[in-house]
Amino acid sequence: MSIQETLQDSKLQLAIYTATGRLMDHRANAISPELLPRYQEMRQHAHDLKKHTIENLDHYMEEFEKNVIAHGGKVVFCKDATEVSDFILRLAKERGAHLFVKSKSMTSEEIDLNERMEHHGLEPVETDLGEYIIQLAHQKPYHIVAPALHMTRFQVADLFTEKLGVPREEVIEEQTMIARRVLREKFLAADIGITGANFLVADSGAVVVVENEGNARLTSSAPKIHIAVAGMEKLIPRAQDLAVMLGLLGRSATGQALTSYTSILSGPKRPGEVDGPEEFYVVLLDAGRTKLLEDPEKRESLYCIRCGACLNHCPVYRKIGGHNYPWVYSGPIGKILAPQFKGLMADPWLPFASSLCGVCAEVCPVKIDIPRVLLQLRSEITEEKQRTNQGGLERLAFKAFAWAMRRPWIYEWGGMMGAGLLGNGGRWISELPIAPGPVKAWLSQRHLPAPAVRSFREQWRARRTK
């Protein structure tokens, strides 16, 4: 659905506004000074922690690996998506595995893991309700935290009937129970479980997964093999740092001090434990992260803990929704991640599609200065355009502007012309059958304020001669 179609779909507009608005309210309540008086200090602390970890990342990666091995697990370093799928395919082949249960992971979305596995005849099943719906509908998540935010119960009813062959069911509770029944069988039959990770704890070799449904617990506990796929920027130094990080993540995402379930996991089941996986792997994914690390100006993009607060608060996201961004990461954070991961010129318009209102930076629990990074990206894109002689028209326009601004008589003449043309707010332009495209589009939604009858310069002159 294009931006235009999204804007014109009043039901979808209402759905996005309601959902993001509710998440904003939950967050605001959870961080209120009565409940969390030291919230701003916590943010600064989290920022400092992530900064320290990212700036010494090699050390924490090695410490993490050492501790995973000590607990009987393995760390698999992968430089790109292909290495991840190669590893999983090889393991699947060696163990005779076919059915995979997966809990929600943006990292696995990022590398199109499901598509890659399906291509090789494996069966990955998403188990988070929203992700399951999205997978059945062959779509990408609409929101980092609420992947099926854009779908109605009626669309889900159609989808379940079509894909699962169940009688049509429009009651949300019943739809949820259908998913529970179908997925419960998958959990019990699955050969391998794949989770993401919200945090990787260096001093414990631990993978931390946060969720509300219980599907991540099942994914990491029911099958014989557990694989966690995580970007290497997910590291934090110590388990004790979880108090601050979990507190910020849950509150910023959904307003929960702690989500229903937080799993802290390391290694396969130990001697004497009743159940749990027999094998435990952590995939540490690069896929563009080391390149991002090279730039001290924009490195802070890697502090992100994927809470989604910047999406919920963004006036652009709230209008255009999640599918009009070019990559799986949408909203303000997507605007700074996509150009750095997919290449500056892949979607050169992206960092410009922002009013720089700054609310994203204000709500970010780890204080990423998103507007500053956006400006940096804009200047890099403009430089790149100049270098490759693109954007000639724009440059010409600015040259003409600079030329005119240095000549007062032109400025004044232009002002007079403008006042005449825009006397009624430019309405006539939008009514012209052949008005210039972008101008017409702009004026079709709004009117310019009518200019003053007498310009400032005229008034000034009149006063002086008095």
Partner: protein, 210 residues
């Protein structure tokens, strides 16, 4: 595979040498909150009830067993291997089977029974949270597969919050592969943000304090 390659790239991006000393990380931030037992109990109850969990106060071991017995009347239950539950006689209640040490058998029981009955390593008053550690006494699936979860917790195990937990246990997975924090029932809002409980984990959580 790509280990050396990636670590090398990280080091060169950060301008660091192999094994270069790391400056100390920001100091650990853990708050020390001092609450009385009454305050902790009141807070736990309020927080868990807000999430539709149920809190019971037992005044004696017999009372604790009676509370559990009345909850599971007429239903099947799988009970973890926690000594507390055996000591209380919960393992001998009608309809109850002990999970045991066999992984397959325990899993089968958990998939079939209506109730899962466990102890807990700790309970966090600030959030109404149960802290579960996997070991020979507690299997992971007992608090997960059955649609209803009952936890029996001694009042001494009630601590203030996550900060106190991580102060007591700085390395949560040092001697267990899994520490899980359970805060209320399983829930989702993925369809039209309508709250539904019990999507994958238990939809009902009872905590009996003894």
């Amino acid at each position: 595979m790509s280990r050396e390659f990636i670590l090398g790239r990280v080091r060169s991006a950060l301008d660091r040498k192999t094994g270069q000393v790391v400056p100390p990380p920001p100091p650990v931030w853990l708050l020390d909150t001092d609450w009385t037992l009454e305050e902790k109990l009141a807070s736990f109850k309020e927080k868990l009830e807000r999430l539709a969990g149920v809190v019971h106060m037992a005044d004696s071991p017999e009372n604790a067993r009676e509370i559990v017995a009345s909850l599971i009347t007429g239903k099947t239950a799988v009970v973890s291997n926690a000594t507390l539950l055996a000591d209380l006689g919960i393992t001998r209640l009608p309809g109850v089977t002990v999970a045991g040490q066999d992984s397959e058998q325990s899993r089968k029981l958990c998939a079939e029974c209506s109730f899962g009955i466990t102890g807990a390593a700790f309970a966090l008053a600030q959030t109404g949270t149960l802290v579960m550690r996997a070991n020979s006494q507690e299997a992971r699936l007992v608090s997960l597969l059955p649609p209803l979860h009952v936890a029996v917790v001694r009042k001494e195990q009630l601590i203030v919050d996550l900060d106190e937990l991580l102060t007591k246990i700085p390395k949560p997975v040092e001697d267990s592969s899994s520490m899980v924090l359970i805060t209320g029932p399983s829930r989702t809002g993925d369809i039209e943000q309508i709250l539904v409980r019990g999507v994958h984990g238990p939809g009902v959580v009872h905590v009996v304090f003894l």
